[in-house]
Amino acid sequence: MKIISAVAASVLTFFFWMAVADAETIKVGVVLPYSGPNADLGNQIDKAFDLYIKLHAKDLGDNKIELVKRDEGPASGANARTVVTELITNDKVKLLAGFVFSPGAIAAAPLATQAKIPMLIANAGTAWITTLSPFIVRFSFSMWDPAYPMGTYAATKLGCKTAAAGFTDFPPGQDSALAFKTAFEKAGGKVIDEVRMGSPGPVPDFTPFFQRVKDEHPDCFYVFVPSGSHAGGVMKTYGDIGMRQAGIRLIGPMDLIPDYQLAQMSDAAIGLVVVSSYADDYDTPINKDFVKEWHAAYGPNSYPDFESAAGMDTMAGIFYVINKLQSNLDDGAKVVDALKGWKHDGPRGLIEIDPQTRDVIQDERAEEVIKKPDGKLGVKVLETFPQVKDECKVLKIGRCGS
């Protein structure tokens, strides 16, 4: 009898515990641009978040995750502070995730520190953002991750002696150009002109900027734009004013060929070399599966890109930390600690959160745009740079040193 009642009691306790656990719903505040000329960038991450939750909901057991989505608004970051304040004070979220634009992330960083709410960055790449708050963890990339190897690669492998750098005039653009210049000149090249190419909002007409560079005749033209429709504009202008025929090679970070834009680009893109952390064409089982699930969920004409891959890894990190801390995310510092040193095999390959900098470590790949046998544009990997750390923090340049 004693045994039976003990068993009954423990079963009852178990069910009681289950019932309590059942009530756990983790609220995550998602901050992405849902409106305006850059809504496509938010859309790529939003779809990745939803897809990860759909595919992995069972991993949380009886716990649930609830995304509270708010509009990050324009690239200037003017809206970010307002919505993050709302998410923290009204919606009482446990985590903040998203942040496409560096200005938005920079504006929100002090709020994360004040409220001790972890801020998980799925895109914004200005290198020194992670130094702004101990509650920031970045899953995407630093601008230096692709730009620095690109500088070395351009000087040593592509044979460029001179280069011009054109960039959208806001923090990640300045950062990307600085990273490229640092590495390119260290490897013996010379940057002959740095061209600020307007603001990150609506796509500017790139022709005057590109014409200027064409007339200066560098060997390589390094370009950073905030991906999306800007990337389409860059490729059109490059093709239209005949820069390739003039012998000027276009290079840049992956922002020049987000996969969903690459599908629409003309043959002018063939031969373009970028350094990137992700492409749909990466031949790993995890990535093949990811692309397949994406098409199944969003149709054959929707393509995941580097932002989506970072979005998947961000959500994987959130799932990891929910399980690791058994849904108790009240202590933001513990959440950040749990993510330090976290390793994950995602669509981009193996990534790790650097315990010192809270920034991601990942493989970068030099890749060339090619025409695939099926007639579509794709990429061919030329060289892999394994487990790249943010060189800006390694070299302690400018605000990365603090």
């Binding site: 609506p202 005057p208 007339d215 239209d240």
Partner: protein, 290 residues
């Protein structure tokens, strides 16, 4: 060719192409503003509608690019009459605040509608091979699409000049812009004139929306983000005049290009500085009447 000459040719050519685009997109706005005093902030929405029509026509219906541009011109022109007859005519005697509220509201509704049907992603088209790449003219080569833009702009200027200066209806429009009450009292049906100019202006906006895809890309926010350019052209040129719009477009197009080319760091600011300077000297615009 000496580098300086090369630079000047680059700036003039790109500036001219940009100016032609600004002219095509703004001329309708300028005339309707001069004729009825209606500030149509939804003008960009008509341009966007034309752009999406071209995307759908070329991608889904298999219509050639040039034909789809003409479809955009005609369809947007006709549809705009519906809006004019139902909504805009309420505004003729309304205050400027009411005009601005209704038309900006229409622009936002258009953004939401197109986001719903087409999504927020940028749309692109493939222009035919004879419009892509470069055209070699003597020692220089020029982007073919921009040469095409300049050609379309020149053809439109000729057509508008003829329609405005040489036809009966053009004379009536000029009369109504000069003095609406006088024109009405000599028996000109200004309401009907307005419908016609509104349709032509919106149709041209639709055409320019189609032309813009290759130049600027197309997203639902097109309706609002380039509005400041059209308004600048109209303000600098002076409303109600084709030649004013042309002058405004040329001045702003060339100075914008020159500013970006020569002073890239401050380039995006240049166009506003020029506009402010001109308006300080001539507050009613280059061809405006006090």
């Amino acid at each position: 060719m000496p580098p300086v000459v090369n630079t000047i040719i680059s700036i003039l050519f790109d500036g001219l192409a940009w100016a032609m685009f600004l002219f095509i997109i703004s001329v309708g706005l300028s005339i309707t503003m001069g004729l009825m005093g209606v500030v149509n902030l939804a003008h960009g929405a008509f341009a966007m509608a034309g752009g999406y029509l071209v995307v759908t026509a070329t991608a889904s219906w298999g219509v050639p690019f040039l034909a789809s541009l003409i479809i955009a011109l005609i369809v947007v022109g006709i549809v705009s009459v519906l809006f004019e007859r139902t909504l805009y005519r309420q505004l003729y005697d309304a205050s400027e605040l009411h005009q601005v509220l209704l038309t900006i509201g229409l622009a936002f509704m258009a953004i939401a509608t197109y986001t719903y049907f087409y999504g927020p992603l940028p749309q692109a088209i493939r222009v035919p091979y004879y419009l892509s790449g470069e055209l070699h003219l003597g020692a220089r080569s020029f982007p073919t699409y921009r040469v095409f833009l300049i050609g379309v702009g020149a053809a439109l200027i000729a057509a508008l000049w003829y329609g405005f200066e040489r036809t009966n209806i053009g004379a009536r429009i000029r009369a109504a812009v000069d003095n609406r009450r006088m024109a009405q009292s000599v028996g000109i049906d200004v309401d009907r004139l307005f419908t016609i100019t509104f349709a032509v202006g919106s149709g041209l906006a639709g055409l320019s929306g189609g032309l813009a895809i290759q130049l600027l890309g197309l997203t639902p926010s097109f309706a609002i983000i380039y509005l400041v350019f059209f308004l600048l052209v109209v303000a600098v040129g002076g409303s109600g005049s084709i030649w004013g719009t042309l002058a405004g477009a040329l001045v702003l197009g060339v100075s914008d290009t020159a500013g970006k080319y020569l002073f890239a760091d401050a380039g995006s600011f240049f166009i506003y500085a020029v506009a402010v300077l001109i308006l300080l000297i001539r507050p009613a615009g280059l061809y405006g009447r006090e």
